[in-house]
């Protein structure tokens, strides 16, 4: 992914969690959180009245009074801390007063002048952000939208990440880095959304995962995304994006059937040889790349119409797949079982992609540009999706990384040596 300069947001997530978890508090996390949640509910009722008062005053003065701003900022901070604790993004029990200094905390700038028009229509303007925040963290509205789809798909990103993180933390005594960062990213966006809705700030929430949680790890995964897309969008192809993708979706389905058969052969071969046959690796890499490119086109993460063969180096949202490497036979044998958590998370990322496409469609149609934050969020979700399928199809033995990250090409590794040929 491309590295964009970090903007100084008025609502910033501060992450100092060390990933260490105590199993007993993890095991009873939901029960331990009950007092926090009750107190949050009480606080939310108070915040509702304060928010109405704040709206009236800000509309008149063009700026929130410091007292109301302080109360609402503290409410946003406390909410973030409680959610971080409940969802295993942080370990210590949070303070009931929303005091700063928590390992997953929010820094909020003092009150600033706000545009009265955006204040007047804040509730309407916040709807798109509220939808996305709902898919990430949950707020009721998005669940209603999603409830018409598959049952399990209506779980929020944070809920699924926390569910998976619970098992990881119970087993290892540590939270998985990627899952923690994913939850932190979602909380960062939710905090921005609440702050925007409650008039704590008039900066619209940014969904960019690259600037949401501070410094990101730089990784060299064998399956990585590279975005060189320039954000321009053709209104014509945006309007017809769904139907233009139909031929690709049909082709992808047909290709998918063959890919599934090849994946089964690849599984057997890798189990025996310890590495994928070159032809299977190449075929499945192409399939995963093609799936990635079609997804990028369909969800407006990329602009141009992709080719039908998944060729590398031709699309501005590119998937790099490393050469085949030796894989642990045990992980090959149990690959489907091992991939289950990733597939679960991938399904939730699919939901996120739906929202990216929906919001991006309107934005691109009106401005002929895809918002940077949405584009990067879409690329992040697609990257995870691609890594999951590459893992399932044994294109790589590397487990998908669920957190936002910076990526760079891995150092070249020597090709797997061909087995010695028998002498004639």
């Amino acid at each position: 992914m491309d590295l964009t300069p970090k903007d100084e947001r008025p609502v910033r997530l501060l992450l100092s969690d060390d990933l260490h978890r105590i199993r007993i508090t993890v095991f009873f996390r939901l029960f331990l959180a009950i007092p926090l949640l009750i107190w949050l509910l009480v606080w939310a009722i108070g915040a509702l009245f304060v928010a109405v008062a704040n709206w009236v005053v800000t509309l008149i003065r063009g700026m929130s009074p410091a007292s109301l701003h302080g109360f609402l900022a503290r409410f946003v901070r406390y909410t973030t801390q409680v959610y971080a604790f409940v969802n295993l993004a942080a370990e210590p029990y949070p303070n009931f007063g929303g005091k700063p200094g928590y390992p997953v905390d929010v820094a909020i700038d003092p009150p600033a002048r706000q545009n009265r028009w955006t204040v007047a229509f804040r509730f309407i303007l916040a709807i798109p952000a509220f939808l996305l925040a709902g898919a990430l963290v949950g707020n009721g509205l998005s669940e209603v939208l999603l409830s018409s789809s598959e049952e399990f798909a209506s779980f929020t990103t944070v809920a699924v990440a926390a569910f998976l993180g619970w098992f990881y933390a119970m087993a290892r005594g540590r939270m998985a880095h990627g899952l923690r960062d994913l939850i932190a990213y979602a909380l960062s966006y939710a905090a921005q959304t609440w702050a925007y809705l409650l008039l704590v700030t008039d900066r619209y929430p940014s969904s960019d995962p690259l600037t949401a949680i501070g410094p990101l790890p730089t990784r060299t995964d064998p399956v990585r995304a590279e975005v060189t897309d320039e954000l321009r969008r053709s209104r014509l192809t945006v309007f017809f994006r769904l139907v233009l993708a139909f031929p690709h979706l049909v082709w992808l389905t047909l290709w998918g059937i063959v890919a599934l058969l090849v994946a089964i052969v690849n599984w057997l071969a890798t189990l025996i040889l310890g590495t994928s046959p070159q032809w299977a690796h190449r075929f499945l890499s192409r399939y995963v790349r093609y799936q990635f490119q079609v997804g990028a086109f369909l969800y407006l993460v990329g602009n141009p119409f992709p080719g039908f063969v998944g060729a590398p180096g031709q699309y501005p949202v590119e998937l790099h797949v490393a050469e085949r490497a030796r894989q642990n036979r045990w992980t090959v044998l149990f690959r489907l079982v091992l991939a289950f958590p990733a597939l679960l998370l991938s399904a939730v990322f699919g939901q996120i992609l739906g929202f990216v496409a929906l919001l991006g469609w309107f934005a691109s149609l009106f401005t002929a540009r895809m918002p940077l934050g949405l584009r990067n969020l879409g690329a992040y979700a697609l990257r995870y999706h691609a890594q999951t399928y590459a893992y399932v199809f044994l294109v790589t033995g590397a487990y998908p990384y669920s957190g936002p990250c910076l990526e760079r090409a891995p150092a070249p590794v020597p090709e797997v040596a061909a087995p010695p040929q028998p002498l004639a």
């Binding site: 014509l236 017809f240 139907v243 233009l244 031929p247 141009p304 080719g307 060729a311």
Partner: protein, 401 residues
Amino acid sequence: MRPLRPATLAVLAGLVLWAVAAHLLWTSTELPSLDLPQLDPDRYFTDSFLERSASYERFLAIVGVLASLVLVAVLAAYARRGQELARESAAGRVGTGMLLAMLGFALVWLAQAPFGVLSLWWERRYDVADESYPSYLLESFLGLGSQFIFLCAGIGIMMGLAGVMRRWWWLAAAPAFLALALLFAFLTPYLIPDNSPVRSPALQAEARALERIQGTDEARLRVQDADRFTDAPNALAAGFGPTSTVILWDTLLDDDFSRSEVRFVLAHEIAHLAHEDTLKRVGWLALFLVPALALTALLTRRRGGLAQPEAIPVAILVLVVLQLAATPLLNASSRRQEAAADWAALEATRNPTAARGLIRQLATKSLSDPDPPLWVEGIYGSHPTMIDRIAMAYAWEEGQR
């Protein structure tokens, strides 16, 4: 006198061959030379119905003509400027061609949507349709997606062949498309949704008897659940050989139609199967496709030939204009096939009263103008006019005396 060049000779030979094939195909549908009596529609339909149906159809016909003109205008503009949209593609030569083709039809959809809404408004006004506008727009928009799948397959075949055979691609493309058309015609009965076997043993027995009379093999007899989207009655014959099927809409099997009227419909559809009309339609398609593709190859040369995506907007314009131009001819052939099926049904059922009753009901239920203006019949008439069909029943009756 200068000797003719080989190319001119080949074109002339092609034209002669085409004319002979068209004649053979035309005459393969046998129809007795009838002197149909001139009937006065007032005798069979009420004044108010005649006025209402004429007004209804005239408006739709005018909207249809305007929509066709807009279609050509949009595609002409697209042929001039469409290639600029190639910058929106990272799909290589063939993929870019597909994108340009899809965008061309996407623009056509945008330009034609108002006409579609206008037609729907008119149909709703006359209680012929009750579909809502959003539902119509959504369905037609999503229908565009399935249209794009076939479009891409077609463009893929043409451009793929053009990449290999250069300017002679059409020689291979025409048989390829015909093979696909044949396959599609063969499978059509299985692609029609919401149909199930006819349950009535009496209707089954009648179908078998009519098949014996008309000397054709046993066909599948199905009923389609159509009353969810229309009240209009209809039936069709589809497939050929082992897939020969007669499909009756359930709107035909309600109490409004007598047993003998349904029997006439059955006989008409079985006649289509007996006459192998499905294959003849593919034959007409062949007669259209070969010159149309050759002309497309010729007219896209200035854009580098069909191997280049920039030529696609021009190719679409050429094919659509040729299709519009060929419509009256194809409709004339269709009218002839329908008339022959009516005649065969009269021969098989020997019940002209039922035929007349059925045709009057069909006209009334679908608000079809029994005696439309000649230009409307020429452009849109895939069946003989209702009044001609009634006249044919009289002519058959007369012939029996």
